[in-house]
Symmetry: C2
Amino acid sequence: MPVYSARVLVSLRPSVLDPAGEATRSAASRLGVEGIVKLRIGKAVELEIEAPDLATARERLSLLSDRLLANAVIENWTLELAASGESSGTSSPVGEG
Amino acid sequence: MPVYSARVLVSLRPSVLDPAGEATRSAASRLGVEGIVKLRIGKAVELEIEAPDLATARERLSLLSDRLLANAVIENWTLELAASGESSGTSSPVGEG
């Protein structure tokens, strides 16, 4: 079975505060790095999955992202799945919250 | 001054153990998601930086990544910097460690 490489990016929803990101932004300014107007910290999960085809891999990874990798109450996720050079994306339903 | 969007991906060096990733891989299997052969968890920092030009933005973000966002002893970083539709990458010197 082919092995597919994937990346799931998990980010806080826009309405959720990110104190770690704010602290990092302040620290950047103290370090002398000027001009940072926004900084938010999320997770990047790098995966390899063995599946019969790309559609199955995508389905499994969407389930995994929804149920395990992201907390849907406060986080959105984006799946980047590459198959022999090409890449395509799937995302969680993006809410305003 | 233009504002550039950037993403810094911080990942553990290949030789560094990732117990959180291993636990997630086991949990995926218990959840019924089969075929995950590799899973490692890193950080994704989404930024916006105001800078006079792209080269300056890249320079500042490289400094920030080296000094603040990544711990060079155990982590590598990759910078994705987009300017009006185009995207290009910069990485930390990748060591075997």
